[in-house]
Subunit: 375 residues, 2 copies
C-alpha cells in the first residue's frame, strides 16, 4: 500500500509556457521571429512564431474541469488553471494533489520540440531550444527546489548541436532530455543507424535519460473518420512500437549506460510485448542479424522505464514488467490526469501491491533514474 512517508514523483506532467518565455530568453536578433504570446482580435491568446499564429489546444489544460466540458477548441490562459503556467500556482496544485515532485514536458514546442523542427529558420529553431532550456532550468525549476525535475529539449535536427546542448545544460543542472519516440516517422534516421550516437554518447556521459513521450513520433494509425476516443486510446501503441524498435536495435550495445523513459505509454502492455519480442527473437534472430547476446526482455529491464497513471493490468503483473522499471505520472494538466485526486486514486490502485514495490514505483525508481534526491 501507499504509506504516508512515500513521496509521489510524477514523471510526465506538462507546463503551458507563459507568453514571455522566448522573448525573455532569446538573443536579440531572434526575438522578432521567435515565439511571442499575444492576444488576437477575437480576444484569444495565441502564439506568433515565424509570422504564423498558433493555439494551445483545449485538452492540454483541463485540470479541474468537468469532463462534460472537455473539448478540442483552443484555450486562453484565463480559461485554464493558473497552475498550468505559473510555478507558484503549480506547486499549490501539486500540494492539493499530494505530489512532491514532477517532470514537465513543454507545450508550445511539442513534446520533443517538433514545433521547432518544423520551423523554416533552423538557426532560430536551435536558439528557441536553448531559450526554453534556460527558462526551464533557471526560472521554472529554480523557483521550486526539489520539486521540479529539469527536462530539456535538444535541436534533434542537428545531432552535433544536440550533443553540445546536452553538455551545456547538464552543466547547469538538467536531469532529462525529451526526444522523439520514432525519428524514422518524422523524416529522420531510425534507431537502427549510428546517426544519433553523438547525442546518445553525450546523454550517457551526462547520465541524462531520454524521455520519449507518446505522440512525439507521430500520431497513431487510426481511421480518420473515427471518434477521437479511438485515437486517444491508441496513443499507447506508439510506446509499444518505440519499445520494440529499441530492444531490436544495437543502441544499448554501444551505450550500455543509456536509459530511456517511455512517457504516458502505460505499462499494462509491457508483459505482452516483452514476451512477444522474446518469442520472435527465439525464432527469427538467425536470418535477421539479431543474434544478440541479450534477449529483448533483458535489454528492456536494463535500459527502459515505463510509467502509468491508472493501469490495473500493469499493477497486477509487476513481476512480468520489472519492479525497477515502473514509474508513476499524473499528467497534470492534461485530460488523462486525475487531479486533484492523484494520491487518493494511486493509493487505492496500489492497495494490494507490497510496500517495497510501491516505494520503488511511486518514488525511488524515478529518483534514481533522474538523479533527483529528496530535498
Amino acid at each position: 500500500m501507499l504509506n504516508d512517508d512515500v513521496q509521489v514523483i510524477s514523471v510526465d506532467d506538462h507546463v503551458v509556457e507563459p507568453p514571455n518565455v522566448w522573448q525573455d530568453h532569446l538573443p536579440a536578433k531572434f526575438k522578432e521571429n521567435g515565439p511571442r504570446g499575444e492576444r488576437d482580435d477575437q480576444g484569444r491568446d495565441i502564439w506568433m512564431f515565424e509570422g504564423t499564429p498558433r493555439f494551445n489546444g483545449g485538452l492540454g489544460a483541463v485540470a479541474g474541469k468537468d469532463r462534460k466540458d472537455y473539448g478540442l477548441d483552443p484555450v486562453s490562459y484565463d480559461g485554464m488553471r493558473r497552475g498550468c503556467y505559473d510555478i507558484e500556482a503549480r506547486l499549490a496544485d501539486m500540494d492539493i494533489d499530494g505530489v512532491e515532485a514532477e517532470l514537465c514536458f513543454p507545450t508550445f514546442p511539442g513534446f520533443a520540440g517538433n514545433t521547432f523542427y518544423a520551423a523554416a529558420d533552423k538557426e532560430l529553431a536551435t536558439a528557441c531550444v536553448s531559450a526554453y532550456n534556460d527558462w526551464m532550468i533557471d526560472e521554472w525549476c529554480a523557483a521550486a527546489p526539489g520539486r521540479q525535475i529539469p527536462m530539456v529539449l535538444v535541436p534533434f535536427w542537428d545531432v552535433e548541436s544536440s550533443a553540445q546542448e546536452v553538455q551545456r545544460v547538464a552543466a547547469k543542472g538538467a536531469k532529462a532530455i525529451t526526444f522523439p519516440e520514432a525519428p524514422h516517422n518524422i523524416g529522420l534516421p531510425s534507431f537502427h543507424t549510428t546517426h544519433w550516437d553523438p547525442l546518445f554518447a553525450a546523454a550517457q556521459d551526462a547520465d541524462l535519460p531520454l524521455c520519449m513521450h507518446f505522440g512525439s513520433g507521430g500520431t497513431p494509425n487510426v481511421a480518420p473518420d473515427g471518434p477521437f476516443t479511438a485515437a486517444i486510446a491508441l496513443f499507447g501503441l506508439n510506446s509499444q512500437q518505440c519499445t520494440v524498435e529499441l530492444v531490436n536495435s544495437r543502441i544499448f550495445e554501444r551505450f550500455p549506460r543509456l536509459k530511456v523513459a517511455l512517457s504516458e505509454g502505460g505499462i499494462g502492455w509491457i508483459p505482452y510485448i516483452l514476451e512477444r519480442c522474446d518469442y520472435t527473437w527465439e525464432r527469427h534472430r538467425y536470418y535477421t542479424g539479431m543474434d544478440t547476446a541479450k534477449r529483448p526482455s533483458e535489454i528492456f529491464r536494463e535500459h527502459i522505464y515505463g510509467c502509468f497513471i491508472a493501469d490495473d493490468a500493469g499493477l497486477r503483473n509487476i513481476d512480468l514488467i520489472g519492479e525497477d522499471n515502473i514509474t508513476f505520472e499524473c499528467d497534470y494538466p492534461h485530460s488523462d490526469s486525475n487531479w486533484p485526486h492523484t494520491r487518493k486514486m494511486l493509493g487505492e490502485a496500489m492497495v494490494n501491491v507490497p510496500d517495497d514495490q510501491v516505494r520503488k514505483i511511486v518514488e525511488t525508481n524515478a529518483r534514481k533514474l533522474f538523479n533527483f534526491p529528496r530535498r
Copy 2:
C-alpha cells in the same frame, strides 16, 4: 490443466493452395488470366496471375524446419511439408500435433483476399474468390469432415457482391469469413461508416463470424531499416488497433449478433487495451459523440474473440480478458507454429489454468463461435 478429453481447435492455420485450385474451379472464360501454378525456368514453383509471376514466401511454410533454416526466400512445393497443401498429409500432421480441427486462412489470395483486391480485372477477381471458396468447401474441407472449419473469402471491393457471396457459401456450409482488419488502411471505407452494412447483415443472418487476421489491413509501422524481428513482433499491434476501432464504432449497435475473431493477434494486450478504452471513454465520450450505452470492454466481451499460440501474459489474466473470449491457434505451417509440439506446449502453458477454463479456451469457445460441433 489440459485433460485428455479436451480436443484442440486451432482457429488460425494456413493452407498453401495446390497449383490447380483456380484452374479447376474458375469458369472457362477466366481460366487464362486466373491464377495458375507453374514451374519457372529456374525450377521454382510460381503463380502466374494476370500475366505476372508471384511466389510463395518462405516463412509461410516452415513447419518442421530448423529455425536456423528460416528465411524470406520463395519456396516451392517440394521445399515444404506435404501437409502445407495436401489435405491427407495435413490431417496426419494435425494428428502428430494433437490437433482435432483447424480453420485455414488462404495463402496466394492473402489473408483476406488482398491479392484479388489488387487485381486489374475485378470481374476476374470476384470469380477467383468464388473459385477459392468452392475449393475450400467442396474439396479441402469435404475431405476432412469434422476437422476443417470452412472459412471463405468475400470480394470486399464490392459490398453487395460480398453479401451475395456470403449467402451463397453459407448455404453450402461455410462457417467463417475472412475480412481485412483495417479497411481504411487499404483505401476502403472505415468501420465508422455504414458502407459495410450489407455484408455485416449477411454475416449476422448466416451466423458467420468475421475473422480479421493481423496483416490483412497493412503492415505495422516499423522503421524500414530495422531487423525483421521488430516487424514480426509488432504485428499484434494491428489487432490492438482493430479492436480499438471496433469498440469505438457503432457497428455492434446495428448488428447485435455479429461476431469478430482477431486472428494471430495474441491476447496478452487485451487487459491493457480494454482498460485504456474504458478510461478514454469515461473522459472523452461527451464531446466525441461516443456516449454509448455500453462501455468499450462490454462491447468487446459481447462481440470479439482473441486467440493465442503462446501467451503467458494473457493466460495469467484470463479474468481481465473474458474466459469466453479466448481461443487457441497453432499457426501451422507458419513460423509462429510449434508443430509438432503444439499439444505438449499448450498443456504446459495451461497447467495452472482451471479445467473448465481450459476446455472453453482450447475447444468449446471455438466450437460455439464457428458452429462446429464434435464429429
